[in-house]
């Protein structure tokens, strides 16, 4: 029956999504390689559902100047711009006329997982131990732990993004670095603009 097929497909996609998020921590290389072979767009929907739910709950912790659904749609827009940029970069640099978009969409959506983890942790810590930090012993201790955590997540994010570009485009090391530098050259001023317009203090990329 079609309905049973849809439900079982939904459950299978959810199980794959949870499994891959966990394996992204344990073995990101094999996980991203596995994701690149897939074409199940339901997993992209689960990731964005998590992001949408996060924006809704974060808005309850501290009121954003803009509605959470605006921030969510901006995040989706940024994601689509990122996918388009790397797909176009691949088309222009390899002179291919066609590109399979499913690996790009899956890989770059999983590349948002480290960002989501950092934002969720930050929001929880904001609720439990709101800033500002003091130069007391506990303040310094927490600051060290927090900065270590943030640097760890940043390394994870760089690794996962590198693997997303590697498996989506097939580029080698220097071309990946070059494409990332050009991407950052566009993203950094854009992030400053978003900050000045009070959309994002730190962009959700």
């Amino acid at each position: 029956m079609d309905f049973n097929h849809i439900i079982s497909g939904f459950i299978a996609s959810f199980i794959f999504f949870v499994r891959r998020v966990i394996y992204l921590i344990v073995s990101p290389y094999k996980t991203m390689r596995d994701i690149a072979q897939d074409d199940d767009m339901m997993q992209v929907l689960f990731i964005f559902l998590c992001i949408g739910v996060y924006f809704y709950f974060a808005n309850n912790l501290r009121n954003y100047p803009h509605e959470p659904w605006i921030l969510f749609f901006m995040t989706v827009f940024h994601y689509l711009l990122t996918v388009t940029y790397f797909a176009l970069f691949m088309i222009l640099s390899t002179k291919q006329h066609r590109v399979k978009i499913a690996p790009f969409m899956l890989l770059f959506s999983y590349a948002l997982i480290p960002t989501l983890v950092w934002f969720i942790t930050n929001s929880v810590l904001y609720a439990l131990i709101p800033p500002p930090r003091t130069p007391s012993f506990l303040g310094k201790g927490f600051s060290l732990v927090y900065v270590s955590f943030s640097i760890g997540i940043l390394f994870w994010k760089i690794m996962v993004t590198y693997l997303a570009i590697r498996f989506a485009t097939g580029f080698r090391f220097f071309r990946i670095v070059y494409s990332m530098i050009l991407y950052l050259i566009a993203v950094i001023p854009y992030s400053i603009l978003l900050y000045s317009l009070q959309f994002f203090r730190i962009p959700f990329l």
Binding site: P28, R33, L144, S148, G152, F155, W156
Partner: protein, 80 residues
């Protein structure tokens, strides 16, 4: 219970996945060998290396910038 024909197919699919991309090449033997040496441990349990490295960087940052680190943390905590 796997039939005789299933096992080779799984192996073939696995090998196709492993060799879906050519290996990375930095166009220089020394650089390529350093790249492979540095990235090999990151392929499995990278956090075993990332966690101590992050702690080391955070401690170094504290030794260099001191109290500014605490202000940075307050700034980052407001960043979401």
């Amino acid at each position: 219970m796997h039939t005789k024909s299933e096992i080779p197919d799984k192996l073939i699919r696995k090998f196709q996945q492993i060799y879906s991309l050519p290996p990375n090449d930095l166009h220089n033997e020394v650089l390529t060998s350093w790249y492979k040496f540095l990235t090999a441990p990151l392929k499995r349990m990278p956090f075993a290396y990332i966690v101590p490295l992050s702690i080391g960087i955070a401690v170094m940052m504290y030794l260099v910038v001191g109290q500014l680190l605490i202000h940075l943390v307050s700034l980052l905590q407001n960043g979401f």
